[in-house]
């Protein structure tokens, strides 16, 4: 089966979800572009958008329309060439409208899993629950005579567990998009013990056509992205306890660690804001999935459990704005910090100056925005970290330890065989997390 034939019949499971809708969009565009190739006239391309929620599917169709419009406007020059033979399509707006129709026209929204029984390829972006995934993969596999391939978006479950559990014989690969898939360039590709070479080849070709940056990771729970992120969270929680031992209140400590990780580590957001962005519940769930697979290491946070028990969840509204979580937001700005002891938010204004005083004098950190994407960023980062290295304040000490810990988490991922090399770890953090520099670096040496 050629690349094109493989993509003639595809299903996305969990298509109305945040990841699923993005995967649906990118795949629909890729399939429609194939269908519009001169040699493919008359061939059908079918993409089932499968989800349990009718309401969600209605929403995802609206999302598709809006996103395809944006994509079409960006590539109108190419579209004019693609529709050169359509003499009825003259203006850009006519061509764009037709393209939106042609992309939408490959998508079949449905709540029936049976639709996947005809697919050559199944993308899965459902709940991070290995038993559920195995059950659904088995069901499709047993009823689909085409020996379909399964592309799972799991960010934490070992692919081999799914492969063996569902009896897929290597017709599966981890294809982990970052959130949101339409925007994020990174994809982690993870082979199970048995993943067939042709599945891997297809995955790489597909990623290339989607203009994604591929980082291969070994099949160890959490892979590279969450392998770093979850341990980064656990370290942040450790630091909170340390700061509390030194006399800070819990909200002061959360605020301090968030501030240090954002400003003084030159990251796009602080660690607790990132947890809120991903969802406190999602982070907790990823840890729960990873923990059984990590020997000699406890991937589990009592603090996250406690927060979740109190209904502190974070995540985003459907328009992409941030829900309140560990931090409270107004127009994207952090205005308060949740106190799990008092079960209420404490305004930042009551914490800020106290924390700044306790952190002490800090070297002036460059703004993340001015560094990320800057070709000469070493010229900014090196002198900054040199200052940080010699600064004597408590805050500088926390920042230095944090940089070293992130570094350690990074090289351990390589040492433990999760990542193939240092560069892959750094690429994941640079591309998938928009860090301004990779965790494996020599800035403090």
């Amino acid at each position: 089966m050629t690349y094109e034939e493989r993509l003639q019949h595809v299903s996305v499971l969990g298509a109305a979800g945040k990841m699923g809708s993005g995967i649906l969009l990118l795949t629909a565009v890729e399939m429609a572009d194939l269908s519009l190739k001169a040699g493919n006239k008359g061939k059908t391309f079918v993409l089932n958008a499968i989800d349990v929620s009718d309401e969600g599917l209605a929403g995802v169709m609206r999302y598709l329309k809006a996103q395809i419009l944006k994509i079409a406007e960006k590539k109108v020059h190419a579209l004019r060439a693609m529709y050169a033979e359509h003499h009825d399509l003259i203006d850009n707006d006519e061509i764009i409208a037709r393209y939106i129709f042609d992309v939408m026209n490959v998508v079949r929204p449905t709540t029936r899993l049976e639709a996947a029984y005809d697919s050559n390829l199944v993308f899965e972006a459902i709940k991070e629950d290995s038993a559920l995934k195995i059950r659904i993969f088995s069901q499709i596999n047993q009823n689909n005579p085409k020996q379909p391939w399964f592309f799972t978006n799991t960010s934490s479950i070992p692919i081999t567990v799914l492969d063996e559990g569902a009896g897929l014989g290597g017709r599966i690969i981890g294809f982990h998009f970052y959130n949101p898939p339409a925007v994020q360039k990174l994809v982690e590709v993870i082979r199970s013990k048995q993943t067939l070479d042709e599945v891997n080849d297809f995955a790489l070709a597909y990623a290339k056509n989607l203009r994604k940056v591929v980082v291969p990771a070994r099949d160890i729970a959490g892979f590279i992205g969450n392998g770093h992120f979850m341990r980064d969270i656990l370290y942040a929680v450790d630091v909170i306890h340390k700061l509390m031992d030194m006399g800070m209140s819990i909200t002061e400590a959360i605020y301090a660690v968030n501030k240090v990780t954002q400003e003084f580590l030159v990251r796009p957001m602080g660690i607790f804001q990132l947890i809120d962005y991903v969802g406190v519940d999602v982070c907790g769930f990823i840890m729960f999935v990873m923990n059984p697979f990590t020997k000699d290491e406890e991937i589990h946070s009592k603090l996250l459990d406690k927060l979740l028990g109190q209904g502190v969840k974070g995540g985003q509204y459907s328009d992409g704005s941030q829900k309140d979580g560990i931090l409270k937001y107004e127009k994207g700005k952090i205005v308060a910090v949740y106190d799990p002891l008092k079960e209420m938010y404490i305004p930042v204004s009551e914490i800020q100056s106290l924390v700044d005083e306790k952190l002490g004098a800090m070297p002036a950190a460059p703004a993340w925005k001015s560094v990320v994407g800057n070709k000469a960023k070493d010229d900014i980062l090196k002198p900054y970290f040199a200052q940080l290295r010699s600064a004597t304040s408590a805050g500088a000490e926390i920042a230095r330890e944090y940089v070293r810990k992130s570094n350690e988490i990074g090289w351990r991922l390589v040492a433990n065989g999760v990542a193939f090399n240092d560069a892959d770890v750094n690429t994941v953090l640079l591309t998938g997390f928009f860090h301004a520099y990779g965790p494996i670096n020599e800035y403090l040496d």
């Binding site: 004019r80 050169a84 003259i90 850009n92 707006d93």
Partner: protein, 412 residues
Amino acid sequence: MKKLRRKVYMVAGYNTISMGSGRKEFHPKKERPGLEDYIKEAGQGVLKLIGGAGNVDECVIGNFMASRFNRQANLAAFFPYIDEGLRYKPATRVEGACGSGGLALISGIKSILAETAEVVLAIGFEVQNTVKAIYCADFLAPAGWAANRKDGHAYFFPGQFSERAGAYFEKFGRETTRKAFARWYRNAIENARLCATAQEYHNTTKDLEAAAMVEPNPKAFLENLTALDCSKVSDGASAIAIMSEEGLKRCGIPVSDAIEVVGYGQVEEDITKPPPDKTALTTMKKAVSEALESAGITIAQVATAEVHDCFTVAGIMAVEALGLAASGKGPEFVLEGNTARDGKFPINTTGGLVGWGHPTGGTGVHMAVTLLEQLKGKAGASQVVIPVDRPYGLMANMGGDDKTLVAIVFKA
């Protein structure tokens, strides 16, 4: 062309702000004034200076594509909206793509010459930020031959002038020409920074020529031009009064406040044909020579010009069409500093289309308003020196790819 049979003047000019990207107050997603607001502001601006609507005999409005940008036609009927005193007065809408403003002026001049009017209120406008640039390209494409649209560039007009730039590069050399584009851009922005209504008034780029020298990216936009080589998408209106001597008297305006229309050229070229020479604006050249001839002067007697630089390459070719430089020598003429505000022949002293902005149907009228201000020494911070032995100003307004041309010579 013969000398004008009657004296014609222009006076009381008014420009709205040229609104669009680049202006601090512009936000594409925020609500903005509609076309009626622009027409009203510009019209009332003139009426205030000429003693009110009662003094007006006729009205003319130039606009290119309100039918698509604003879903509005029948534009002459906006005159009574400007002022009730214009109700029941004759009014005409004219269209010649980006030359619509110039046609409005010519229409007014002819009414004065025909003695059907002593005072004409002429307005030109376009309100284009109603759609994204990619759809704006659709709306502006009919300035060219519709049969060519299907095979044309997504950005149809920029595509046509990119082809012209490519032809010019090939014939006369790329490096010097691109440097001249960059200088043209710099002059445009530096002039715009001196004019509060200009779209680039707030531009703070330090090294303008370096910014303009960035290589074009054909994948993202055009083969031979960058975004900085192009005039922007603009909302704006300009208005001016066209009068006979009797009209000036009626309005109580001394002749010394007005500029005289001493010659004009109005020329059309076949829209269905490609340009005879991609490296020259042959129709503009014809219109300019007719205008100078009817004025009985040569270009050497002109102090300043407003030319239709919808693209930097059009600016360079306009320099040649005016007769300031020989074919292929426009770039050097510009690079020598001659067209800068302190040069021997300042061009587009408030920024032109690249710097002031290009509300397409309004541009011709804006040119006349700028020349009125310059020739009367009322251009404020934008003022250039008008030598006493060269008391003339020239405008060349173009519709489409060198198809509809209006050139007018004014005397201080």
